[in-house]
């Protein structure tokens, strides 16, 4: 039974070893998901029937599969195709790919909802000035839609940073894996190390969702946006 290190040391250890990958995976997953998700939303709102159908199918597919299974599909499948790439990078790539594809499906829904809730009168007014549909969309609808999407998007951020913890299951050293190392080396605090881990994640999620969540929704309603 070894001496248990003091609490601050445990926290610093988890952060030092794991924060980098946790944040990297989250950032990549969210940004690729953003680009892909926004495109999918536009496909469903303004695209031809086939595109809309594809986008709808994509959403259903990547919402209906467990993230871990998706990660494993890539983790086992990618090395076959990309045998020349370093294994660690492949594992990171698997997680990023899985996170992005999943996030895109959810972000697509978020943006589609936001676009649809911009008051129709706004587009009418824009067109009455002589703007083309594309101009009205770019300058009037999208700015408002993006603002309306903030509360749901802050929620998606929280989801992705939590989901990045699954990277630990294929050996990537992010925060959850670091906590695992702690718990293995100091078995009396099995549970405590995970409690600490949980609180660390909470620090990353709660402030953001609190500020950009419901409070933002109410602020937007007051500004007269959305509700369409």
């Amino acid at each position: 039974m070894s001496d248990i290190p003091p609490l601050p040391e445990i926290i610093f250890y988890i952060l030092r070893r794991g924060l980098y990958h946790s944040l990297l995976l989250t950032a990549l997953g969210l940004s690729i998901g953003f680009i892909l998700g926004l495109s999918l939303a536009l496909m469903r709102v303004h695209g031809a029937k086939e595109l809309a159908w594809f986008s709808s199918g994509y959403e259903k597919l990547f919402r209906g599969i467990p993230l871990i299974v998706l990660i494993y599909v890539f983790a086992f499948g990618l090395p076959d195709i990309f045998w020349y790439i370093d294994p660690l990078e492949l594992r990171l790539g698997s997680v990023v790919l899985a996170l992005s594809l999943r996030s895109a499906a959810y972000q697509s829904q978020i943006f589609r909802g936001a676009i649809l809730s911009v008051t129709p009168g706004q587009t009418e007014a824009a067109r009455s000035l002589g703007m083309k549909e594309s101009q009205a969309f770019r300058h009037i609808v999208m700015p408002q839609a993006l603002r309306l999407a903030v509360p749901s998007w802050s929620n998606e951020y929280a989801v992705v940073i939590k989901d990045s913890s699954f990277a630990s299951t294929i050996g990537i050293i992010e925060m959850t894996q670091a906590a695992y190392f702690v718990s293995v080396n100091f078995q009396e605090i099995w549970a405590l190390s995970y409690l600490i881990l949980a609180i660390l994640y909470l620090l990353f999620t709660y402030p953001i969702t609190r500020i950009f969540g419901e409070r933002q929704s109410k602020k937007l309603k007051k500004m007269g946006m959305g509700g369409g």
């Binding site: 871990i68 906590a179 099995w190 995970y194 999620t205």
Partner: protein, 249 residues
């Protein structure tokens, strides 16, 4: 090219399907976990929502705190915390189990319905789902509005009676679309129990991979099974929703 010497996906699929009894056992256990977790989440979630909305200052804060904590932390961390809690507190866990067996098509299938690991997994999933379900219930309760409760009280009903007979029945009907969403997607999250050694569908998939060395196809098959299951549950709930609709609610 590197892919030339791999057997075709169909061939691989057939090999994997020879282990259908393992996969079935895993699937049944997954559904078992799903059912209990959903139920637990429902009961606890509804309680939390009521506490948040109608509890006093203290109780509603506790409920909020619980919900924010669960929603702000990863499921995996919650799982490990609960799993390791007894051993950290030096509470003995024991090696007990409750299982059931039956035979299908000449294959024996045994499912461990309950043991320590399964219990820990089930508890985690239930506690987790409760926090998310609570948010849906709270939204529905809020949307029914205080006026309904005021009207009930003006008739002489106590607050609790008003909540029980006027607000909740309406709230529960209104929440069905959003709740169906959570209910349909919950099976996805049961896969985490693999990491504490519960033999769910995901775990059995690993097992099969260990025997067949066919990995991608197996996991894709699992993904498809989940997708189909979720779609069926979703459509089923949709049908129930349409059958029990009340105009205006």
């Amino acid at each position: 090219m590197i892919l030339q010497d791999r057997p075709n996906p169909i061939g691989e699929l057939l090999i994997v399907l020879e282990y259908w009894d393992h996969l079935l056992s895993g699937f049944l256990l997954t559904m078992w976990l799903y059912g209990w977790a959903l139920l637990m989440g429902f009961l606890l979630g509804l309680t939390l929502a009521n506490l948040r909305q109608y509890g006093g200052w203290f109780l509603s804060r506790i409920a909020s705190g619980y919900i924010e904590f669960i929603r702000g932390t990863p499921l995996l961390a919650q799982l490990f915390f609960i799993y390791f809690l007894p051993s950290s507190l030096n509470i003995p866990v024991g090696d007990w189990k409750i299982e059931t067996s039956f035979t299908i098509l000449n294959k024996d299938i045994t499912i461990i319905l309950l043991n320590y690991r399964t219990l820990a997994g089930l508890l985690t999933l239930g506690l987790n789902s409760a926090a998310y379900q609570a948010e849906y219930f709270r939204g529905a309760i809020m949307s029914i509005g205080t006026e309904q409760l005021m009207a009930a009280q003006s008739l002489g009903m106590s607050r609790i009676a008003g909540i029980r007979h006027i607000v909740l029945p309406q709230a529960l009907r209104r929440v069905i679309p959003a709740w169906s969403n959570e209910a349909a997607y919950l099976p996805k999250y049961t896969v985490v129990v693999y990491f504490i050694g519960v033999k769910d569908l995901f775990s059995q998939a690993h097992h099969t991979v260990a025997f067949t060395f066919i990995s991608v196809t197996t996991y894709v098959l699992i993904a498809i099974i989940f997708l189909v299951t979720i779609t069926i549950i979703s459509k089923g709930l949709d049908i129930i929703h349409k059958r029990t609709m009340i105009p205006g609610l």
